[in-house]
Amino acid sequence: MKRLALQVGGAAVPLLLLAPAFASAQESGADTTNTGIPVTDQLVIDSCDRCHAVDDDGMMTRVSYMRKTPEGWQQSIRRMVTLNDVELDPEVARDIVRYLSDSHGLAPEELRPGRFEVERRLIDWSYEESHEGDEDVDRVCSSCHSMGRVVIQRRTKEEWDLLMAMHRGYYPLSDTQGFRRFGPPAPGATDTRQPMDKAVAELSGKFPLTTAQWTSWSATMRPPRLAGTWALKGHDPGKGPIYGMVEISEAADGADFTTRVSYAYARSGEQVEREGRAIIYTGYQWRGRSFEGADAMSVLREVMMVERGWGEINGRWFAGDYDEFGPDVTLLRADGPVVLGLHPVAMRSGSTTTVTVHGVNLPTGLGTADLDLGPGVEVVSVARSDSEVLAAEVTASDNAAVGARDVFLAGRPVPGHLTVYETVDRILVTPEAGMARLGGGAFPKGFAQFEATAFSDGPDGKPETDDDLNLGFVDVEWSMEEYSAIFDDDDIEYVGTLGTDGLFQPALDGPNPNRDGLRNNVGDVWTVATYRGPDGKEVRGRAHLIVTVPLYMRWEPWRVQEMPIPRRRTSDMGNER
């Protein structure tokens, strides 16, 4: 089978800017016009016109009538190569992806609601809530794949129709599995359309080719100037907050930028140094990779959005066979001092702890008077004060006011709050619904990382009300309990193990001869976090974990067979049952 290894950082290609071909924009309503986006790049024309004819107006069949993310275009090109005998050098394919992403792409406002798809987040998300979408339309698409794949595309009505036809042609059963499932409507229903017909009507109305956002964005899109020093803050699930710095430089080769990244985990102090490269698609879509030294196993993919104003870049860096590891990150331009946050974000009244304030270009040599934590919280001493961290020993008096308080460092506000509390009343385990996939035999394992956040009930003394105090990430003892779905449920004996760090390691894939009916090691369990306060009082929280079957086909366009195995799972390839 032919494969394309499309990687960030190919041959140098200037960022192409195209004025939109259409004069009028429409916010919504089915796009039934035949107005498309001309294809003017000769490389694209030469590579595609064997099947996609270009008319006198520069309109290329199919291609001129849709807009997508870089990943969306990459996936289309891979399908052309694998199923339609297109032969492309990887360098040419990269250039085509780049051209199409820039000139047939999405405006930032169009991508934002569905950005979780490209950021590879496993989240609870509802098409009905996010887009006021129809339940049947949701079912038509998400019977097989994420709705995120749909909401980050824009097409004319004819193109949405053709997309349905493509699915029917390649996957005939999709017609019954999704397109007409539960249809036709009951006799007497006011809407007698099949679900697929509702889908075409709704999608072409909600996601038309021509929009005001794209008209505006594409007319003035330009390469962002990002070189310089950026402050980094983020959260790595299971490991806590990270703070650091990123130096972004203009690249001399195929990438747009190179990066030097350094950050530290606030809880453990562990330092990380990385180097990376990135391309900016459509004037704002950051796609990069970074590594620790020359270690290919340390790869993190970077998917971020450069915000308008070029002062902030945010998104997710990830790794893992199911993209399950990696931090959420925000980069802030750091021309001057930038205060990023503090750690920990809560302390018990009557206790003493070390508080660290993190930033970039912070004033140095600060003393106890420069950290203002409000009345009742005294700064006893300053152990460290440099341009990145101020560390101070802090005591909260027994009668310090309970609640979140503003914090200032040398007169500058520190983002977030320090919360003084009396008791931990509730533990929230996230994700509240987690999923892991069996693996290690023939297929990779999909891990699930859990973490615990503490809450105090607040002044009203009631849990889960608006005045609850978020006390941040806390250390807990992890355990599992059976989630009884059937009589004599015994999943817990088979599904895998939950580590002391909240990382669930699934068991081996394949039929288990020791289990009834040769069942796989699938199952439902509770992951339980037990917090013990200084008085010995226990507070528990739990989340539902589903341990399920692998994926036997991987569509992510960057995923190829030669991809290195991330280090975090190589030690977990054992044969445990």
Partner: protein
């Protein structure tokens, strides 16, 4: 019903009960009652698992765990087709769950070529990157 023949008293009573008024009656002495002919001779054909309304969906364990590959219809794993290897070949051949299982029509025609029975040879099944 036309293909079935009542051979005891209870069956004959049922047959009599379901017969439309005037369509036939039990003969004296309990002789077999001929079934009323359906209005459409095509209705004589009975096809296993056939659904006369809506599309025909071959019955298989895939149906059990709709709506998702990962979870059953209750959102858990208890109702999943198990072991999954028992179901894989059907999914492959029918292009069921094409987002999760390689499809035999296009992307992976030889996916199962190395294993006669997935339940035994599941380690030989490849992960497919289209």
């Amino acid at each position: 019903m036309d293909h079935l023949k009542a051979i005891n008293q209870k069956a004959r009573r049922i047959q009599e009960h379901v017969a439309p008024p005037g369509g036939g009656s039990a003969a004296a002495g309990g002789a077999p009652v001929p079934s009323p002919l359906p209005a459409d001779p095509g209705d004589l054909d009975v096809v296993g698992l056939e659904s006369r309304e809506g599309p025909h969906i071959p019955l298989g364990c895939s149906l059990v765990f709709a709506p998702g590959w990962e979870v059953d219809s209750t959102g858990g794993t208890a109702g999943l087709c198990q072991p999954v290897e028992r179901d894989l070949f059907d999914c492959h051949l029918a292009c069921f769950w094409p987002a999760h299982v390689p499809d035999q029509l296009n992307h992976a025609p030889d996916w199962t070529g190395k294993c006669a029975a997935a339940q035994k040879d599941w380690r030989k099944i490849d992960l497919i990157f289209p």
